[in-house]
């Protein structure tokens, strides 16, 4: 009995030891980033718990030397459009695949699903040339249209279809008897019912778009059109080892969103568990 209790304490020590270690590894980089962002450039090589002098001017310097507000705006509005488009087209197609009977629906769905295995990196070269022929290089169109109609959209269709399959048909039948059109059934009945799935998909799509790096890197050349990840990656080359500026920029790019997602975390984790489990 005594042995067992001792074992329990040992387990707990091990438990908290391992978890604390991993958590520290995860969090220290962020603290280090915030710490450095307030450091004086001459103190980069010195370890200071609270930077002295405390240079919040680093942030001003970043804001003055780069159009940071534009990067923010670009990232934000692209992510919003991609999310809205994905939710709308994904749920519309997901509803049709789950509830409407039409010839070839399962084959079409399988075709869509099979594209999940096509890596974006493979189709980017021809897509780049099409976009060039259409004169859409160095515009935001590819960054918005490709995810909605491509991989992100397909994922949306999949998630929404799985959800709508679980909705009982009776509701629909009643609405049909009342003379509702299919679009009204979708818009007024199905979509409001799908709030949990829509919430998950919103967070997922928004985050993916917000963090996307490969496509902006390929399609965008002008500074004022860049998104945050692209701007930060190129800023790294630009300022080289001016770490305090790079860290100020990184703090501005991450912290506001991290705070928002801190509150949406539960939904996000549940969403990952729901959709990832398939």
């Amino acid at each position: 009995m005594k042995n067992k209790k001792k074992n329990g304490i040992l387990t707990k020590v091990l438990f908290y030891g391992v978890l604390s270690f991993i958590s520290i590894v995860m969090i220290v980089p962020f603290l280090w980033m915030i710490n450095t962002s307030f450091k004086d450039s001459t103190k980069i090589f010195v370890f200071q718990f609270i930077p002295n002098p405390f240079k919040w001017e680093n942030y001003l310097q970043v804001l003055e030397s780069t159009p940071f507000h534009l990067f923010y705006f670009n990232s934000l509005y692209i992510a919003i459009l991609v999310t809205v488009g994905t939710i709308f087209l994904g749920s519309l197609a997901g509803y049709a695949f789950a509830k409407l009977k039409f010839r070839g629906s399962s084959i079409l769905f399988l075709c869509l699903l099979s594209t999940m295995m096509i890596p974006v990196e493979v189709i980017t070269i021809p897509l780049f040339l099409f976009m060039r022929d259409l004169g859409l290089i160095n515009t935001h169109v590819p960054l918005i249209a490709i995810p909605i109609l491509g991989p992100a959209g397909v994922f949306g269709v999949f998630v929404m279809r799985q959800f709508f399959l679980l909705v009982p048909t009776e509701l629909e039948e009643a609405a049909k008897l009342d003379g509702c059109s299919y679009f009204r059934i979708y818009w007024n009945i199905m979509l409001p019912l799908a709030k949990p799935a829509v919430a998950t998909l919103t967070i997922f799509t928004f985050l993916t778009s917000w963090n996307e790096f490969y496509e902006p890197l390929i399609y965008i050349n002008s500074k004022e059109l860049m998104t945050l990840p692209l701007a930060l990656a190129l800023f790294t080359d630009e300022v080289g080892t001016k770490w305090e500026l790079l860290m100020s920029a990184s703090v501005m790019a991450t912290v506001p969103l991290l705070i928002i997602f801190f509150f949406a975390q539960k939904q996000f984790i549940e969403g990952v568990a729901m959709t990832g489990g398939k």
Partner: protein, 311 residues
């Protein structure tokens, strides 16, 4: 597209149901509602894929007309020493990342499964990097690994160790990138495992406990078999993801030192968008496609077997 939406909004004609016309029928709306995504599939996925096969058979450059050159790009690929280095690096990356990621995620999920105080904090801490952009995460870690200014070497200096130039050492750079990548996404796999663990029937634990199984035997004979479908899926998804690694390489090492961390997608990007050798880049991209296709097929066939076992 917008025009279609407009027509969809219009209420159906009275008596349309009886007339059995196609327009306004259930099938009509079915096709209408899926059409944007199906057109997207054709234009954005299928056509480019077929087109890139054609491109890989040409000497397509940025300027000038492409000429059909047959399998020349593929012959060049086989004889390109850089390609084999890149392929080897990608495999090393995957071979390092996948076991670390899966084992760590499983361990963390098993620990966080218990409802002990502080769980919420740990879960958030491990999940934060998942929500951070790979660019920012890599920038911070590039700095952490900095030779003189980096956190790691500063900590090492306090105990009198002269830290190495992590990202500039051919033997260490890939290891550093692997660790950074594993930490970035371990939270995602952990959440998937947690969800699977919660679905394991509690009665099984009780039954095995009554049969005299200890914790370790319970893990190997109850927990693990019950969550194999998830472990399998996660494993394949992580392998596929590691084949497509790009952002962290671009930010942290630019493929260097030398060629030591140059991976497939980086090589594709370099050939296509730095050297504008679209034909050759397409050939490399198709190699990546085939690799991923193989793993996807393994997943599909394997999954059927696991699901069958499950039921």
């Amino acid at each position: 597209m917008e025009v279609k939406i407009e027509t969809a909004k219009r209420p159906p004609l009275k008596g349309a149901k009886k007339r059995k016309k196609f327009i306004g029928s259930e099938a009509f709306y079915g096709y209408l509602f899926v059409s944007p995504m199906v057109i997207g599939f054709l234009v954005i996925m299928l056509f480019p894929l077929i087109y890139s096969i054609y491109m890989s058979l040409t000497d397509w450059q940025l300027l000038g007309d492409p000429n059909f050159i047959g399998t020349e790009n593929y012959q060049r690929l086989v004889n390109d020493p850089d390609f084999w280095v890149v392929l080897k690096n990608t495999i090393i990356f995957a071979a390092g990342l996948v076991p670390i990621n899966i084992v760590l995620a499983l361990l963390l999920a098993l620990l966080l499964q218990k409802n002990l105080p502080g769980i919420g904090f740990f879960r958030t801490a491990i999940f934060i990097p998942v929500m951070t952009s790979i660019v920012v995460w890599s920038i911070i870690w590039k700095y952490m690994f900095g030779t003189e200014e980096g956190f790691i070497n500063q900590v090492l200096a306090t105990i009198g160790i002269d830290g190495p130039a992590w990202l500039y050492d051919p033997d260490l750079a890939m290891g550093a990138v692997i660790v950074v990548s594993a930490l970035k996404n371990v939270g995602l796999n952990m959440v998937l495992f947690l969800a699977a663990l919660q679905q394991v029937d509690k009665n099984l634990y009780e039954a095995s406990y009554l049969d005299g199984a200890n914790k370790r035997r319970q893990f190997w004979h109850v927990t693990l078999p019950m969550i194999t479908p998830t472990v399998f899926l996660t494993l394949i998804l992580t392998i596929i993801g590691s084949m497509k690694v790009f952002g962290q390489i671009y930010v942290m090492t630019n493929g260097g030192p030398g060629n030591h961390t140059k991976v497939l997608v980086y090589y594709i990007w370099e050939n296509a968008f730095r050297l504008f050798d679209f034909g050759y880049a397409s050939a490399i991209a198709l190699v990546l496609f085939v690799i991923i296709l193989v793993f996807t097929v393994i997943q599909w066939t394997g999954r059927k077997r696991w699901v069958f076992h499950e039921e």
